[in-house]
Structure formats: structure tokens, C-alpha cells
Amino acid sequence: MNGDDVQREQIVGVQSWCLAVSESDERAVREAALLQAAQTGDLTALDELLALYERPLLVFCFGILGQREDAEDAAQDTMIRALRALPTLRQGQASFRNWIFKIARNVCLDRKGKRQPTEWLDEDRLAIGRELNSPEELALRRLQIADALERLPPPRRAVFLLRVLEGWSAEEIATAVGWNQKRVYNELGKARGALIEWRRRSAEDEAKR
């Protein structure tokens, strides 16, 4: 390794940190403004605020519940509960992200206790013709990934999906789920480790066959 490479690694590291801070600040300011406007009854602001968290909530609920239909219902319940309780949220008391994810967690745990998922694999929203894989190959791949994810504990799965699908940083995830960053990193490491192990075993099984 030469000196330039080290310098380059450091620069890239600094860059991503700068962008994260910048975007994070920008987002926080924007979110606070939206929250304030929403609390005064501005429906557009309210809609924008929900739009920010619509998909992350769905991903989080999917991570906990493991099934899309249930996750949609849970995300919907979460948003309705949040809207009902919005006037009681005081600025500065808690971040909106932390607050809404706490609601989502409660909703998911309620639902998880009440019912079993009805279907895991649903074939939808697959971009048609995106690749020339056969439907069997695609379905098999989805099944395998779903199977591997299903083996993870729900909170770990949720954290992993927020990181991978939503690109959230550990700090953002920690705020949302109410953990410290160290725990988030550990959970991510364990999730990846388990998935790599699963992949290794699958490859071995495949080779045996």
C-alpha cells in the first residue's frame, strides 16, 4: 500500500462524514419546519412529513413482521396513530423520528402477538423484463433471500433492512429504534454474519447436489 492510497481512504471517509452531517442537519431543520407547520394544521406539510417516513416505516414493519401485507397494515396503523397524537408531541421533547418509530414498534408488537402472517411470498412489483432471468430463477432467488432473512431475529432484521434498503446511518437507526449506536453496529454485524453463513451453507448444499 502506498501513501496515496491511505490519503485517498481518509479523504473518502471525510467526504462521506461531511455529507452525512450536512444532509442530516438539513433534514432535521426541514423536518422541524414541517412538523411545526403540520401541528398548525397545514395538510401539505403533514403529507410531506408522512412521505418522509412512509417507506422507512414499511421497511421497519416488514423487518419486524416479515410479511408485506402485515407490514402495510402496520405502517398504516402507525401513521394514523401518529396523526391522532401529533398535537401532543412537543418540539424538542423528542425527535419525530424516534417518536413515530416507537409507535411503529408498539403497533408491530401488538400485531405480532395477535395474528400469524398469511403469506410470505407474493409476486408483485417485480420489474417485468428487467433481466432475462426466468420467473423460476427470480422466484427461487426471492425465496432463498426471504428464507435467510426469516431466520434473523425480527429486531435485527428490521435494523438490517433499514440500513440496506433505506441507506440509513447507524446514528439514524439508533435514533429511530431507541438503541445506542454501538448496539446497532453489533446487530448489523451479526445479521451480515448470519447471512454470509447461510450463503456458504447453501453453496455447499448446492455443490453436494
Binding site: V14, Q15, A51, D124, E136, S169, R192
Partner: protein
């Protein structure tokens, strides 16, 4: 650092956690340790695999937020109404209300006064500010940063970040990296905006940056940006394709405006599309379907040219139009585009873009290659027998086991010749063969033919077992009588020469066939005045089919026990044939008419009635026996799999629906999407409804398909006319039996040639005189000559005296005169003078409703030519009398569906006339001599 330690850090390192010394340590270790590097790569690929697999499945429903808002607003409305009912109790005193109002007015007046004073104060400050300011240099933004800032206006930066990160560009993107290197000091450029720089730096810039600012982004780069924006800005009506702006402008503002315009366009939700519609469309063209939906809803829906003739089956009850439109586009790879005139309403057009079309082309090529490989495999089965001669192969076939016998029998017959030559072809010849070219090998090759290898001659002649040669004193006479003691096998006569032909044709899309002929000929010379030849062949000798043409296993068969309750529903299916389908006639007296066959559309209609599930499916003409597609109390998933395998379909039960109030597992809101497993082949074979309807209508009106319409039918592509299922559908379902006349591809050029004539000329062709050569235009005459005198150049225009083109188009249900002994050309032409310079006359078509009328008409037609005929025939048989050459009752036959094109090059018999018929031709007859 040790591997164990690094692996503990690896996940955190990927998430950007360790910094400084630890990060450097990990990076250094990774450069030196292949195992840890592989693990890191595995982590990265795992993340992207999860992202690609689950990402598209976790897009929120377009209406999720809207539903939440509506729900909450209705709750709030109810709460406010309750509060209003309590209002008099809360504000009993009217005087208190008036006091509060007056207090607000006073506060407003005070605010206005303070604002005016503040403005005046600010203006005075402005006047004493220095005129010269230090201008901060503006750092040029890259295109991506522009878009990012533009998008962040209304959307979360998180979405942008996710969009960029998903493409794997975040943090390691060369564009972003350039932002840090452009000033050469390694500091983040974001911080440099606050530095004061001198004029030279302000005026001069790095030429690389300047170049980049004016150079258009590469297609790939722009596509990635487009994908990022599309990802970040999700359209509520996501089935509508919104074109992404492409700009020539290189400054920030237009690009930002373009993205804004895209955002505005993407945010449009047309409330009219919420209207519920009920659809029951069976095998209907998309253009007709859009017309009907337009009539029903008043919304401008159009099917573009690329999809207008595609047929679909659509059944649903009270579904939002938005959902129906989505089902018409997404499963088939089509897209709706939206446009609007000034002041008008939105217009929607359904299209298939070029990319989707090329993807289908790619699938067809894949099948084509697979079929060629399968054909090669089939031909290879002959390899063990290459050492056998035809006679040896025949002897071995007689004692071969059942599995081997059919192959050996084909090989021992005429198949020996093409198979033998196939294994001797050069790579270039094989390439020509696979490109569809026919290769001819001859002992005496003509131009374009190849020399037949000498060692193959005997085998080729042995193949032709139906003919033998009788050697006379001065000539050789071919005979079909194998028992004649004078007759010798062709291989034993040195003057007989061998010839063979081989070709590979794509008999249907995705199916290749090896065909071949083997023959013998005697050249014109002292032994035979006109020469003689025979060609025999019983193709095909090998067929290669693409695997997709085999019965398709469906996606769901991989999931043996569906947990979905809808798929467990027990279904009884009794599809009924469409009333449009003509009833097939009984085959004979007393026998019942065969049961009408069913199309996929009728099966799906029955399925919808039985289950209530909305269904959308493509439609391609295929017919099935009712018993093949009926069911009694079968679970839906099992039934769908069985139907899929029988009808070569694939199915998918979609969970998404926009029907309000429906439960997620409810059958009534979930679309059953069905598509042909070979849709990319079927699309090219299918004939548009608008043509079939017109031809079927013309046939019903006239009792037959008029020649003009038949000629128009021949104008369809070979792929359409070659399709076996399409032909069966046209004949049995649409009731156009004439379709089968166009089955043979070597006959089609002659029917297509008729399309060059006017309807009036075609009527003349069907008359007794035919269409004289002189009444053709120059192009028609050239076409006529190319068919009429092929291979024998014209020596004088006088030879064309009396040249005529005649068409004999017959339908069942009448009687006609015909000489016994099969299909003979004397139906049209009779020679009245013998010898090379003899003369022939045309016989008018003799066709009547009854046998007696046909006989009478034939006898009326003959007297004028009887003396000449008698004179001619008596030269060979002096005992003939006039009664014997007159048409006899046993020469009257029922007519059959037939079309014959007869090219008569003149009344002189020096040149034979040529006639072409389905599956036959060219046949040359009546050559003088």
C-alpha cells in the same frame, strides 16, 4: 491487524464506523489478505442482492398515505362537528367574543405601524453601506449535485441519499471525488465556499472542470441520474410513463426547473381514474378495448400502434379504472403515457417502447439458438448409421427394436441422402444452410448447384426405389412397375445421374426442420429426347424445438402447498364455447357433430365466473378440447397449474389492488395475471382481429372467401401463415377454411403475385379465356414470364401468342368435369394438334350445382373441338371414335377447396405450361414432342 480482528470490524467498516487508525488498519489488511477481501466482497454483494430482491417489493402502495390522510381527516371532521355541537356551552357570553375581536384588530394595526417604521430604517442603513463588495467565487456544481439540491426542495434528502447509495455511487463516486480534488488541497469543497480568493482564481478555472461543464453527460451517467430521480420521486399513478427531460442547457436553473417539471408531472393524480368500471372483454384488441373504456368513462384512452392489435382477455367487476389501466400495462411490459392539450383533459396512450420490443427479440433469438441446438442433437442420432447403405439400413430397420425402428426407416428411405451430405458439409455450407438457403448437389451441377461426391451416387439412387429403368434399343424408359423383369434399378443404369437437395427451415418460430430430397435424372440426349427426372422426399428428417415450446411448468408449481386461502378454493370449471364460433359440421350421416373447441379466453371467462377473481390475460389463438380444460372441485392453484401446462400459460396472483374496503386476502380485489409462456413468439404469429373479422364476414356473406380476400390473406407474413395454431384457429374458430390453401410456402409467392393485379384482372383470370398477356402491365408481364418460362429463355415474342394467366379457384358443393386418373391438367387445356409445333386450346371451367348439369355443360363445351381432338388422338389410337372422347358420367366429380394458378405461355405446344397448386408445383405439362 489479524484476520479475526478485521472480520469483527468488517461490517462496521462497511458502514463507515471505524475511523482514523482502525480504518487504516482494516484497509491495509484488506489489501494484503485475499480471504478477508473475499468476505468483504461477499458482504457488499449480499447487501446489493437484498436490495435488488426486496427493494422493489417494499415500495409503499401509491394510495397508502392518501388512505391514512383521508381516514384521519374524516375522524377529525367528526371530532370538530362534535365540538361545534358543544360550542354554545363553551362561549355563553356574546360580549366576550366581541371583546376578543376588537383586541385582535388593535394588535394588527400596531404590527403594520411597526413594519413600516422598520422598512424605513433598513433603507437608511442600505444607503451608508459600501458599494464595493467581495464577491465569493461560485463553485461549479456537478449535474448530480444540482439534481440533489433540486430534489431536496420537497423530498427528504434521505430519499436522494438512498437513491444514490442504491446505485453504489455514494461515497465512492468519481463525480463526488472530483469535488474534493478540484482545488488540489484535499479539503472538502463545501468548506471552500467561505474562502476569500483573489481575482485570478476567480477569473481562471481548471480547463477540465470547464470542459466537463459543457460536455454532455454520457448516456450511462445520465441514465443513472434519471434512475435516481425516478427512485426519489415516485409517481402516485405509477403505471404512467413520464418522460424524463433531456436538456441542452448547461446552467443550473433549467436543469433544476426540468426536475421540478418532472416532479410536478409525477405528482399528478387524475381523480377521474378512480371511477369504477366493470369489464368483460374476451380476446379483444387493445384498440377496441380502449375505445369501449373511452365510451364508458369519457376519458381519452388510446392504444398506440405498437400494441393496438394485441389481444387481451379482461374480466373484473367494479374496479377503479386506475387499477385496470395498471393491469393493462405492467404485466405486458407496456406503458401508459399522459399528455394534455392547453385547457383540455389528460389523454392516455398505451405503448410498448423499443427496449421492451428488443427484449422480446432477444428472447426469440434465444429460442432460435436453442432450437438449432436441439436440431443438431436430433441429427446426431443418425451418426451411428452413417456406414450403412440405404438397402442395409432397410434390412436393419426390419429387425430393429421399436425405439430404433422409426429413425432407421426414415434413414433407409430418401432421408439417407440429406443425412449423408449433412455430415460432409463445410462450416460455410452449414452456415448457409442454417440461414435458410437450400443446397443442391448434383452429378451434373447447373449454375448455383454443387458437385455431388462420387461415393454418394449409388446410395442416392438406391433411395429412389419407386422407379426403375427399361433399356430399349435406342432409349431408356422409366417405369414404376417394380415387377417388370426388364426393369433395372436406377443405380444399375450408368446414364442415370443422381441429385439431392437439403435445407433447414424455420417451420415455425422456435422450431427448425431438416428437409431434403433425393432424385435421379437422365439428361436430354440420344437416350431420352426431353430428359427425365424424379425427386422424392418425405420430410422432415429431424426437428429441433426450443424448450419454451414444450409444455411450460408454471412458477407456482415450485410452491407445492400455497398458504394463500384464495389458491386453496375448490373450483369447478365448465367453459362454454363462444356463440361467435361456427358450429363444425357433422362428419357423416348419423354421426354427431364434433364438440366445438375452446379458446383460452373462454376458459378464463369460466374461471372468472367460478371464482370472481379479476383476470387479465393476453390472448393468442389456440384451440383446446373442452375435456382438456374442464375441472370439478379442484383447488385453484392445482387447476391453474394444470391449465398453464395444457395451454402453455403462466400465471400470477397479484396482491395489489386499489379496491377500497377490500380485505388483503379477498379474491375480489386481487388480479390474476396470465400470460402465454411463449408470448414473444406468439405475438408475431397472431393475426389482428380487424382482418380476421373482415375476412370471416366476407366469407359468411359470399359463402366462400372471395379471391380478392384470399389474395389479401396471402399478404400476411410467413410467420403468421406458418403458425399451426393460428391456422387451426382461423379454420375452426373463425370459419375460414381457405386459410389452409396458403399452408405451403412454395405456393404463397404465386398467390401473392396475384395481389399485383386489379380486382377486374383477377376476375378475368377466373374466366374461360383467362387474363391475356397483352392486358397485363409491364411489371405484371415480367412477373408472368419469370414463372411461365423459368429456365428456358424466350427466343421470340411470337412464342407468347395466346399467353394467358388463369386461376382455378374451387369450393366444395358443386360438380366439375375432370378426366379420371387423379388431378390432370386437361381440366383447363387440351392439345388439338400433335407435334412440336402443335396447338392447344383452353377448356372453359365446367362447374355446375348437380352432376347431371355438369355433364351436360361438359358435353356442350366439347363439340367445337371434338374433330381436332379426334384427329390428334387417332394418331396414337386409330380405333377411337367421337363418343369415346366426349365427357362421360364417370368423369364428373364433386369439387373440393382448391386453388390452382396456371401460367400458359402460348397456344403453341413447343413450350409446356406450368401450373402451381397447394403442395404441388411447379408442374409442367403439355410440352410438344
Amino acid at each position: 491487524m489479524k484476520c479475526q480482528q478485521v472480520r469483527r470490524w468488517l461490517s462496521k467498516y462497511q458502514d463507515g464506523c471505524p475511523s482514523g487508525r482502525e480504518a487504516n488498519g482494516v484497509a491495509t489488511h484488506l489489501r494484503g489478505c485475499a480471504e478477508c477481501c473475499r468476505m468483504r466482497d461477499q458482504m457488499i454483494s449480499l447487501d446489493s442482492e437484498v436490495r435488488e430482491t426486496l427493494g422493489p417489493r417494499l415500495e409503499p402502495l401509491s394510495h397508502l398515505r392518501r388512505c391514512v390522510m383521508d381516514h384521519w381527516l374524516s375522524e377529525r371532521g367528526a371530532a370538530i362537528a362534535r365540538r361545534r355541537r358543544c360550542y354554545p356551552l363553551l362561549w355563553p357570553d356574546r360580549a366576550a367574543t366581541l371583546f376578543l375581536l376588537s383586541l385582535s384588530v388593535v394588535a394588527a394595526l400596531m404590527t403594520l405601524f411597526h413594519h413600516a417604521w422598520w422598512q424605513q430604517n433598513e433603507q437608511s442603513k442600505e444607503q451608508i453601506r459600501p458599494i464595493v463588495q467581495v464577491v465569493q467565487p461560485e463553485r461549479p456544481l456537478t449535474a448530480r449535485r444540482r439534481l440533489r439540491s433540486s430534489i431536496a426542495g420537497t423530498h427528504s434528502s434521505k430519499y436522494v441519499k438512498r437513491g444514490l447509495a442504491r446505485r453504489g455511487t455514494h461515497g465512492s463516486d468519481p463525480l463526488d471525488a472530483s469535488e474534493f480534488h478540484q482545488h488540489g488541497d484535499g479539503r472538502p469543497a463545501l468548506h471552500q465556499q467561505h474562502l476569500t480568493v483573489d481575482d485570478l482564481v476567480h477569473w481562471n478555472s481548471d480547463p477540465e472542470i470547464a470542459t466537463r461543464e459543457w460536455t454532455a453527460l454520457s448516456v450511462d451517467e445520465w441514465d443513472r441520474i434519471e434512475a435516481g430521480v425516478r427512485q426519489a420521486i415516485r409517481a402516485p399513478d405509477d403505471f404512467v410513463q413520464i418522460p424524463f427531460p433531456r436538456l441542452a442547457a448547461a446552467s443550473d436553473r433549467p436543469i433544476a426547473q426540468a426536475v421540478e417539471s418532472y416532479k410536478r408531472e409525477a405528482a399528478i393524480v387524475d381523480p377521474r381514474l378512480s371511477r369504477a368500471v366493470t369489464c368483460a372483454f374476451k380476446a379483444v384488441a387493445l384498440s377496441d378495448l380502449c375505445d369501449r373504456l373511452r365510451t364508458e368513462t369519457g376519458i381519452q384512452l388510446v392504444a398506440g400502434n405498437s400494441v393496438a392489435d394485441e389481444k387481451v382477455t379482461l374480466y373484473c367487476k367494479e374496479m377503479p379504472l386506475r387499477s385496470v389501466m395498471r393491469q393493462l400495462s405492467r404485466p405486458f411490459g407496456y406503458a401508459w403515457t399522459r399528455s394534455k392539450k392547453e385547457g383540455g383533459e389528460y389523454r392516455y396512450e398505451l405503448l410498448q417502447d423499443l427496449r421492451s420490443q428488443l427484449l422480446e427479440e432477444e428472447l426469440r433469438n434465444r429460442d432460435r439458438n436453442a432450437a438449432l441446438v436441439a436440431l443438431e442433437r436430433e441429427i446426431e442420432r443418425y451418426r451411428p448409421y452413417l456406414e450403412l447403405s440405404p438397402n442395409e439400413a432397410l434390412a436393419r430397420a426390419e429387425r430393429a427394436p421399436a425405439a430404433e425402428k422409426p429413425l432407421l426407416e426414415k434413414y433407409a428411405d430418401v432421408g439417407w441422402a440429406p443425412i449423408q451430405i449433412y455430415f460432409r458439409l463445410s462450416p460455410q455450407e452449414l452456415a448457409m444452410l442454417r440461414a435458410g438457403q437450400e443446397l443442391i448437389f448434383s452429378e451434373a451441377p447447373r449454375p448455383g448447384e454443387r458437385q455431388l461426391p462420387a461415393d454418394l451416387k449409388r446410395g442416392v439412387l438406391e433411395c429412389n426405389r419407386h422407379y426403375r429403368i427399361i433399356r430399349q434399343a435406342d432409349r431408356l424408359d422409366p417405369t414404376g412397375d417394380a415387377n417388370d423383369p426388364r426393369a433395372a434399378p436406377l443405380a444399375d443404369v450408368p446414364e442415370v445421374k443422381a441429385k439431392l437437395a437439403i435445407m433447414i427451415s424455420e417451420s415455425e418460430l422456435g422450431q427448425f426442420t431438416l428437409r431434403g430430397h433425393a432424385g435421379a435424372f437422365i439428361e436430354r440426349g440420344p437416350h431420352h429426347r426431353h430428359g427425365w427426372s424424379t425427386f422424392e422426399g418425405r420430410p422432415p428428417y429431424a426437428v429441433g424445438r426450443a424448450p419454451s415450446l414444450a409444455l411450460a411448468a408454471t412458477e407456482r408449481t415450485k410452491s407445492p402447498a400455497p398458504r394463500d386461502l384464495v389458491l386453496r378454493t375448490q373450483v369447478t370449471l365448465r367453459p362454454q364455447p363462444s356463440s361467435l364460433a361456427p358450429q363444425p359440421p357433422a362428419t357423416g350421416e348419423g354421426s354427431a357433430a364434433p364438440e366445438p373447441k375452446l379458446t383460452t379466453a373462454e376458459v378464463l371467462e369460466a374461471l372468472h365466473r367460478a371464482t370472481g377473481i379479476p383476470i387479465v390475460a393476453d390472448f393468442y389463438t389456440r384451440l383446446y378440447e373442452p375435456k382438456q380444460v374442464s375441472a370439478r372441485g379442484e383447488p385453484l392453484s392445482v387447476l391453474l397449474d394444470r391449465l398453464g401446462e395444457t395451454m402453455r400459460l403462466r400465471w400470477r396472483l397479484e396482491g395489489d389492488s386499489e379496491a377500497p374496503g377490500a380485505t388483503p386476502s379477498g379474491a375480489e380485489k386481487r388480479w390474476l395475471q396470465i400470460r402465454s409462456a411463449t408470448y414473444y413468439q406468439d405475438r408475431l404469429k397472431e393475426v389482428p382481429n380487424r382482418l380476421l373479422t373482415r375476412w370471416a364476414g366476407a366469407r359468411r356473406r359470399h359463402g366462400m372467401l372471395p379471391l380478392d380476400d384470399l389474395v389479401e390473406t396471402a399478404g400476411l407474413s410467413d410467420t403468421q401463415l406458418d403458425g399451426e395454431e393460428m391456422r387451426q384457429g382461423a379454420v375452426e374458430w373463425w370459419g375460414i377454411p381457405e386459410w389452409s390453401l396458403l399452408r405451403y410456402d412454395d405456393f404463397r409467392p404465386h398467390v401473392r403475385f396475384l395481389a399485383e393485379f386489379t380486382p377486374e384482372q383477377r376476375r378475368m383470370m377466373m374466366s374461360a379465356e383467362g387474363l391475356p398477356f397483352g392486358k397485363m402491365n409491364l411489371a405484371q408481364q415480367q412477373g408472368f414470364l419469370s414463372y411461365a418460362i423459368k429456365g428456358d429463355p424466350l427466343r421470340s415474342f411470337d412464342e407468347l401468342a395466346g399467353a394467358t394467366l388463369r386461376v382455378d379457384y374451387t369450393q366444395p358443393g358443386a360438380f366439375q368435369w375432370q378426366k379420371p386418373g387423379g388431378f390432370t391438367p386437361t381440366r383447363w387445356i387440351v392439345r388439338v394438334e400433335p407435334g412440336p409445333a402443335g396447338r392447344r386450346v383452353l377448356i372453359p371451367p365446367i362447374r355446375e350445382r348437380t352432376r347431371e348439369a355438369a355433364l351436360a355443360a361438359a358435353r356442350r363445351a366439347f363439340p367445337p373441338i371434338t374433330p381436332a381432338l379426334l384427329a390428334a388422338f387417332r394418331q396414337s389410337d386409330p380405333t377411337l371414335d367421337a363418343d369415346q372422347i366426349l365427357p362421360q358420367p364417370n368423369q364428373i366429380f364433386p369439387t373440393e377447396l382448391d386453388l390452382v394458378v396456371v401460367y400458359i405461355p402460348g397456344t403453341a405446344t413447343a413450350r409446356g405450361f406450368r401450373w402451381f397448386r397447394r403442395g404441388q408445383g411447379p408442374l409442367v405439362a403439355d410440352q410438344g414432342g
